[in-house]
Subunit: 349 residues, 2 copies
DNA sequence: CTGAAAGCGCTTACAG
DNA sequence: CTGAAAGCGCTTACAG
């Protein structure tokens, strides 16, 4: 390995102090430095293929220009899409991002964040697991800048950017009812996460306002790490029996993915036999024979706004910014109104 | 912000030197340090909520325990799945990963890698864009440990882990021909990337060995950043005209995703009207009405092996390891043999 | 216009 | 068993 060249090396070959080299390469005090020396310094730096050691710089300046991103699972499209947006936004400000997956486990998130903080990240973007309030409060006490993303805790006064889940789901259910569906089921997670419970609340409220008596068999609440077969089973339960639901609302992309597979397996036509709405968009929905109505999460805005708030907060950490974004209901064929269905056996292909 | 506690703080409150504190907290020279002092030091460290400053440590030891991951696009499921595997593998050795997306652009990759190197990553995992040989050679000259992943350059003696693309595609085409399909088309990318061209070579070789005269209208080569509609158009071309293909091989998950959408749009039945094979698996394929035959990329092995080679190479950078992994052909309904199709109008749902 | 010097928070030979 | 000291590669008041 060719030895890395340092400021000192440049200083020595040019015959000046490291201070001067530092000033020149950081474009500081430009007016006070002789153009000739500056030119020479830049030339030598180029020649020796100088790379500033960001680690040394960080030690001195207490800034790493690195942010930590904690998601549930980077391999989930929701997380990776967000990661990409955050990467691009951070890059605009010369920030780089370290990431990690919590797998919805507070212990893992804790360990991860600890590793990120040891590396002196300037701040964190966190999609926290259930029950993570205490650690977040701790981060606040330590004055560490962070922004929650997608999820937040109403009792904690933190920065966050999330979907207005209540309104989004309410709108979706209202749309189903307006379209003539009467027995709307929901597949969601059983968790204490506010975000997820807001979805349930929106669902129940919409039913109530429309004077539809809710039946508890319509609501399937699964563990947050539910397997594909558990999800399939829940969908199966909703669709069998004497009084099956005529519409299903999926509370996440994973639920929809496995749910739709089960609907495929049952050879049911959408929306003739069951209407479908999902939260989150996924490219994969396009492969389903009927285009799926979904609540579009404003991922671009979510990632960009969260990154901006974080970078602001890193500069001067004194305000709290909370943003609830509106979800757009993208209406497609999977919720076609009941009335205009011409025949119950519309060709499928 | 409560001031961070340093080794010095601990040393002062305990009344010892920072050297001693460092030894104790790093479990060094254990036999030479009095148990009492060691205990006291640990207690105070705990009490003051000490976090080692990894930046300072790195400056001294020249190790950051961070690796850089450069993919084409972190939001692509192929990349994000790999990222997750690498994250998990790296974590076992207390490494954290910084990532970035190159968007298939050498300039962007270069800038990214430069940023990662300035942060003193211990090594790099790179899925390089087309034409990246010169920069890789440069990295080698500088003695920077790296491993190429998914893609490599045959003329460059570097570490790499990739699929044996030739063999995998050859196997897939042979399977199609064995199943009775005779006019096998391929949708791939037009690029100088060896990996991609190996796929084309496997396709052409399999046709030749089976004495099938290749027609150039069967092969669609798209720009690597082709839009969904360009992909749809290519599929359309293959399937229209007097002599359409009866099977299509998609050379990537993105191509398959848009290609299948177009097949949906054309209301064609798979495999009755056109058989389909794809490289890469994607959860989304499950939403297609016919389960898709695909070449399973050994992602787990790819990510794990690449990470291991990199960590080895970081320890002592003196050997070159090149690994070609075998792809498994997962045969599903989309390539059902022509002979056993009972009726041309099998029900679809 | 330029340099000597201190210091960021650690590690690690070296001396005792 | 323990400490004083040098040094990793930078930045930045301060002095001239």
């Amino acid at each position: 390995m060719t030895k890395k060249t340092s400021l000192k090396d440049i200083a020595q070959t040019v015959g000046v102090s490291t201070a001067l080299v530092s000033y020149v390469l950081n474009n500081q005090k430009e007016n006070r430095i002789s153009k000739l020396v500056a030119k020479k310094i830049r030339e030598v730096a180029e020649e020796l293929n100088y790379r500033p050691n960001q680690i040394a710089k960080s030690l001195k300046t207490n800034k790493t220009y690195t942010i930590g991103l904690v998601v549930a699972d980077i391999s989930n499209p929701f997380s990776s899409s967000l990661a990409r947006i955050i990467e691009d936004e951070a890059e605009k400000f010369n920030y780089t991002v370290l990431f990690g997956s919590s797998d919805e486990k507070p212990q893992k998130a804790r360990k991860l964040i600890s590793a990120l903080l040891n590396r002196q990240v300037d701040g964190l973007l966190i999609s926290p697991p259930e029950g993570y309030e205490p650690q977040l409060a701790e981060l606040q006490n330590q004055g560490i800048p962070f922004v929650l993303i997608d999820r937040y805790f109403p009792d904690l006064k933190t920065n966050y950017v999330a979907l207005d889940n209540y309104a989004a789901i309410h709108k979706a259910v209202q749309h189903l009812l307006d379209s003539g569906y009467e027995r709307v089921g929901m597949v969601t997670f059983h968790t204490s996460l506010f975000t997820i419970n807001e979805r349930k609340r929106g669902y129940l409220a919409a039913l109530k306002e429309n004077k539809i008596p809710f039946r508890k068999t319509w609501l399937k609440e699964l563990p947050i790490d539910a397997s594909g077969s558990a999800i399939a089973k829940a969908v199966d339960d909703l669709l069998r029996g004497p009084k099956p639901v005529d519409a299903i609302l999926f509370a996440s992309n994973t639920l929809a993915l496995y749910g739709l597979q089960q609907i495929n397996a049952l050879h049911l036509n959408v929306p003739e036999q069951v209407a479908v709405v999902s939260i989150d968009q996924a490219e994969s929905y396009n492969l389903f024979r009927t285009p799926i109505t979904y609540i579009r999460q404003p991922l671009l805005e979510m990632g960009q706004v969260a990154t901006k708030i974080l970078l602001e907060s890193i500069k001067k950490n004194n305000t709290t910014t909370q943003v609830n974004l509106e979800g757009e209901l993208v209406i497609q064929d999977s919720t076609r109104p009941v009335e205009i269905i011409v025949s119950p056996t519309v060709p499928v292909g």
